[in-house]
């Protein structure tokens, strides 16, 4: 890895040890006179690094297996002939190694001389200058001359025998057929074959680390070059997913970030946490002064282990995008243009309006929506604002529309509302069951770790209406793909449980020991009923009974079984029921409480876990404690010096309903775009329109801001301190790498708003907010910024019982004492197909875009996905006279929109699929307001629709765009 130029950052050693770590019995050997003890299977190279002895190397890196091609790492071993490569030679007991001797020095110099004979001598003007392992290695071996005269080479475009490209630029020549020009098709990095030393690190990183297999070495011998895809491909048209692993692996400037080429090598770095999905990757933000040069995945990050995806690695440009609003703005009505004003004016305008509404309509007439993209500390303050300052519990968060059923379902069965494992656990899994999740697009870094495990032999079962990439992609193939009809999750999971119980495959000893036996017997009786048999539900679910039986048997008998699920489980009218049926399945098979097993919700947003933990829900104070409990209220009443309303507040859908009725009038919405992300856009718009004061606190004038009266500019994750909690309950530090461009971190803005309403808060750093969280919330009791500095990250619960956090939950028993089996009756959704709406629409996300796209649409990621596209099966398209690439009208009972169509057999006949990343499409105009029976989580994943040919945008889209444009007008401060 190219990380030599940056000074080491505690904690953790960031050196590249050359080859991966091994587990094994200790072996002792002597290297250059020093005794070293390493695990069996370790390479001589790694053993040397462990002893602090650097062996020169080019093709080795410790995130991939040794390859033995560069021959620079040769050593002498007493009693062995020749000079073996230290990277491919495992240690043996008593081995005596010499890494420096006249013989190996001579060999290394000769090898280096050959490398450099086909490498341009342009070091001073090279983008990797100072960050080049070839340069480092040439220095290490003491190369002083290249005796070869210029001959065949890959770097001189003119064919004039120049030693550098700068020299070649000066003169004309006959040309050089071996020279291949730079490929700059990828928006974020370039591939310059003229600087390639063919070490294969990029190819191996693509295969071993990322698992995409997009790169190869084409040709042989001197003609060998790295190639993305097949002969006619470039990086953009190949299978490359732009994860950046190859760029990170490249020892030279052959694969180089365009940002480094433009801005120069970074001079300092700050470790922080990615603000995209729930994997929560650790990154080094590498800086020049206050300019961000690049984001590099941090090797010691415990969620990502040094890997990244296109979003976290490259798509940070939105933070400096011209659309970003940096001054506060207000307006009296939403028909007016915005007026830029001072912070004081904006805050006092907002405070006056909110107070006025409360005086007129009561204290419960206003509320807040917290953001799953902001930090724990910021979220905590926003819910505190409504509870301590507004005096009600009207707080909700976007988890309402994604994982609220997870909270409910896992709470009922296991007693906690979170995933049971850490991501490392996947390395011990034998059978993976994925339900309603598309990890290669939604959680790519986890998907890479999962694919690695699958390539090592773990089995895979996928339950999904679409044939997602994880079902079948290079070197990975699911044993069973159960392509169910959207909306029948409960029937499918129950059928699996039926097979396991009726065939006696359950783990009875585990159930007797860990679970409530009476409840189990009741459940077993329920699930054994023939109406749950796969044969009985086949007609309903569309899943062949024989496949389902085989999959159930595999899961029950295949060893460590782990379940990973996503929004395809929760965003249904029976979302909570499905979560409980998944928990039942895990308990039935004894798959809770050790590495390699568990129930793992893949959380959508970076801090959706944290936002839930921090008391964003209207009925729960931080730590999932019900607001009606007087002892819980007492803790916060004492800490905050106020009386807390014992009545649960309004959920988002209730806020909107109440707004239309006129009883809910004011909203502070931080970092969330409910107009685009929430279902039934018409209803959301009507609710917002009815309010008297909508305060939007965001980076951009989002769709919700079209209906806002106050706009408070937000700060990006690069501009603030705080913590995010990822899907494995890991609390990661977010560190400020530059000053907020808008002037204030988001928690400061919330504090100023609270103080404008008379709160008198005095936080000067988020660490103080975390101290307050720890003091009031048992599962966070042990969390401090000092601990996070020391450990890098911790997983809650972190308290006296678990001072260093809890990687695995329910190890010796469930949090709730005994695990509870729940009865999971399948109830069909009210959303039914019929003659007018014969197709089922399901929605999802795509790799390059994220959620409502507010961030990723403002980056070069649009190269991959510049509009939402409707996937439809060719049969369904044919009967409607629709061709690939046509513009179609997508209509449901709720509304209609238009978009482009793509014909694919990824979706089954009768099912269509689209994403919701682009406001021009507004897929949620179509989705209905049906929702989960327990938590109101909207049923995004099932909408009965019709698709028909269309000429262009619908009337609604045109009206909407007109309104949006009008409402985004800004008068400058001078006018």
């Amino acid at each position: 890895m190219k990380d030599f130029i940056i000074p080491q950052f505690p904690p953790g050693d960031e050196r590249d040890m050359g080859t991966p770590a091994r587990n094994g019995a200790p072996v002792s050997l002597t290297i250059d006179g020093f005794e070293v003890v390493v695990p069996e299977g370790t390479s001589v190279m790694r053993a040397a690094f462990e002893a602090g002895i650097e062996v020169p190397k080019l093709c080795a890196s410790d995130n991939m297996e040794a390859y033995g091609s560069c021959r620079l790492c040769v050593v002498e071993i007493e009693g062995r002939r020749g000079t073996p490569a230290s990277c491919t030679t495992p240690v043996t007991e008593g081995m005596i190694v010499h890494t420096q001797s006249a013989k190996v020095r001579k060999i290394r110099k000769g090898v280096m001389e050959l490398y450099v004979s086909d490498h341009p001598l342009d070091c001073l003007t090279c983008a990797a200058n100072g960050d080049c392992e070839l340069q480092d290695a040439a220095g290490q071996v003491g190369l002083r001359d290249v005796r070869y005269t210029p001959g065949d080479n890959h770097f001189d475009p003119k064919g004039i025998g120049a030693r550098s490209q700068s020299e070649a630029r000066l003169r004309e020549g006959p040309g050089n057929p071996q020279f291949i020009p730079k490929d700059d098709s990828n928006p974020y990095f370039t591939y310059d074959p003229s600087k390639c030393i063919v070490c294969s690190r990029c190819v191996r990183a693509c295969e071993e680390v990322q698992g995409t297999f997009a790169l190869t070495i084409e040709g042989r011998g001197f003609d060998s070059r790295v190639s993305a895809g097949a002969a006619a491909d470039n990086f953009l048209t190949s299978d490359c997913v732009s994860c950046g692993a190859c760029v990170q692996a490249c020892p030279t400037a052959t694969l180089q970030e365009k940002s480094v080429a433009e801005l120069g090598t970074p001079t300092r770095s700050v470790i922080t946490t990615c603000a995209y999905c729930g994997v929560g990757c650790s990154f080094k933000a590498e800086m020049n002064g206050d300019t961000l040069v690049r984001m590099v995945p941090w090797k010691n990050g415990k969620a990502n282990r040094g890997h990244s995806c296109v979003k976290g690695r490259f798509a940070y440009g939105y933070a400096a995008h011209k659309d970003r609003i940096l001054s506060p703005m207000i307006r009296d009505t939403i028909d007016e243009p915005w007026r830029e004003v001072s912070w004081d004016e904006a805050l006092s305008f907002a405070a006056t309006r909110m107070k006025g509404i409360q005086q007129k309509h009561g204290r419960r007439s206003v509320g807040v929506i917290t953001s799953s993209r902001c930090t724990n500390e910021e979220t905590y303050l926003v819910q505190k604002l409504t509870r301590a300052v507004f005096g009600n519990n009207n707080t909700d968060t976007c988890a309402r529309v994604c994982h609220s059923p997870t909270g409910y379902g896992l709470g009922k069965t296991f007693g906690t509302s979170a995933g049971t494992q850490d991501f490392d656990s996947v390395e011990h899994t034998d059978v993976v069951l994925i339900i309603g999740a598309n990890p290669t697009d939604g959680h790519p870094v986890f998907a890479s770790r999962l694919k690695k495990r699958l390539r090592a032999g773990a089995k895979l079962i996928v339950v999904d209406p679409r044939r997602t990439d994880i079902v079948r992609s290079a070197h990975v193939e699911a044993q069973y793909h159960l392509p169910l009809r959207p909306g029948t999750n409960v029937a499918v999971v129950s059928a699996m449980a039926h097979v396991i119980v009726t065939e006696g495959l359950m783990d009875e000893a585990y159930i007797r020991d860990r679970c409530d036996w009476d409840e189990f017997q009741h459940y077993a009786e329920f699930i054994s009923d023939p109406r749950h048999a796969p044969e009985a539900t086949e007609a309903l679910t569309g899943v062949p009974a024989s496949d389902l039986r085989a999959a159930a048997r595999l899961f029950a008998t295949g060893g460590n079984g782990a379940i990973y699920y996503g929004l395809g489980v929760t965003e249904h009218s029976q979302g909570s029921t499905t979560v409980m049926s998944i928990a039942n399945l895990a308990m039935l098979t004894g798959n809770i409480g050790r590495p390699g097993v568990g129930v793992n919700p893949l959380r959508g947003q970076n801090n959706v876990q944290g936002a839930c933990d921090m008391g964003s829900f209207p009925h729960e104070l931080p730590g999932y404690r019900h607001v009606k409990l007087p002892d819980v209220r007492a803790i916060f009443e004492k800490a905050w010096g106020v009386e807390i309303d014992p009545e649960p507040g309004l959920r988002i859908p209730n806020m909107l309903d109440a707004a239309v009725e006129g009883t809910f009038r004011g909203l502070y919405c931080q970092g969330e775009d409910i107009l685009q992300s929430d279902p039934d856009t018409h209803h959301v718009a009507a609710g917002l329109k009815a309010m008297e004061c909508v305060i939007v606190h965001d980076l951009f004038l989002n769709e919700t801001a079209n209906y806002a009266h106050v706009f408070l500019p937000g700060s990006s994750f690069l501009e603030k301190d705080g913590t995010f909690t990822n899907a494995e309950r890991r609390i990661n530090r977010v560190r400020k790498v530059m000053q907020p461009r808008n002037g204030y971190e988001d928690w400061e803005v919330t504090q100023m708003l609270a103080n404008a309403m008379g709160a008198g808060w005095h936080y000067t750093h988020p660490a103080q907010i975390m101290d307050e969280i720890a003091a009031t919330t048992p599962s966070f009791a042990g969390v401090t910024y000092e601990l996070l500095e020391e450990k890098g990250s911790v997983q809650w619960p972190c308290n006296e019982a678990a001072p260093e956090g809890t990687p695995l939950m329910h190890v010796d028993g469930f949090m709730s004492g005994k695990g509870h089996f729940m009865i999971t009756e399948y109830v069909a959704t009210d959303e039914r197909t019929g003659p007018r709406f014969p197709l089922l629409l399901t929605t999802g996300r795509i790799l390059s875009q994220y959620n409502v796209g507010a961030q990723t649409r403002r980056t070069e990621n649009t190269v991959w996905h510049d509009q939402d596209v409707l996937e439809i099966h060719p049969h369904d398209a044919e009967v409607r006279g629709i061709n690939d690439g046509d513009w179609v009208r997508l209509a449901s009972r709720a509304g209609e929109t238009t978009l482009m169509v793509q014909l694919t057999d990824r979706v089954a006949p009768g099912v269509v699929y689209t994403t919701f990343h682009h406001p021009a499409t507004q897929a949620n105009v179509v989705t209905t307001d049906f929702s989960d029976w327990a938590t109101n989580c909207p049923e995004y994943k099932v909408t009965a629709v019709q698709v028909s040919p269309s000429n262009g945008p619908s009337d609604w889209q045109e009206r909407y765009n007109e309104q949006a444009e009008r409402s985004r007008r800004i008068l400058s401060a001078a006018e």
Binding site: F213, E218, A228, A230
Partner: protein, 162 residues
């Protein structure tokens, strides 16, 4: 070189390689089968093979481009391979090869304008004891010189016409 290359459809390629799918390490046999049928490995085969064997397109391309024997366009009707390995060079193989190429007016890998013949280098035919060696349409010939090769080419032509 032939400008025209027949472009088989994915279905046709699938049909040719499908019987080999059960072999252990089926990619090379499949590539040979394709070259056998169409005289070359068309680009259209890459995605088909990648899909069938669940490999990356790049991997298939890497294998095809590694082996010079796999052509990306069809050869002439006849293919002459002349050995350029050390043993044949030691007995004058290089001069024989140069002379043949000169007479035909071709360079290595070249095809005569009428599409009759392609000349390719080969590195050892295992016929070192009777070098210089060559191979015409899969039949090895020992102790060749330029005249012998010319004669062989003529015979073959007659045979081909007959």
């Amino acid at each position: 070189m032939l400008e025209y290359a027949p472009a088989p459809s994915p279905e046709e390629i699938r049909e040719v390689v499908a019987p080999l799918a059960e072999l252990e390490g089926p990619l090379l046999p499949m590539l040979h089968a394709i070259q056998e049928v169409w005289g070359h490995v068309p680009q259209a085969a890459v995605p088909v093979l990648a899909d069938l064997l669940n490999l990356g397109r790049a991997e298939v391309h890497g294998v095809i481009s590694f082996y010079h024997d796999f052509r990306d366009h069809p050869a002439g009707r006849r293919v002459l391979k002349i050995c350029r390995a050390e043993a044949c060079q030691a007995v004058g193989g290089a001069a024989v090869a140069q002379s043949v190429l000169d007479r035909l007016g071709l360079d290595w890998h070249g095809t005569t304008p009428d599409g009759a013949l392609t000349v390719e280098p080969v590195y050892c035919l295992g016929l070192c004891a009777c070098g210089p060696a060559a191979m015409l349409d899969g039949r090895v010939i020992g102790r060749v010189d330029a005249d012998r090769i010319e004669a062989e080419l003529k015979t073959g032509d007659v045979e081909a016409r007959a």
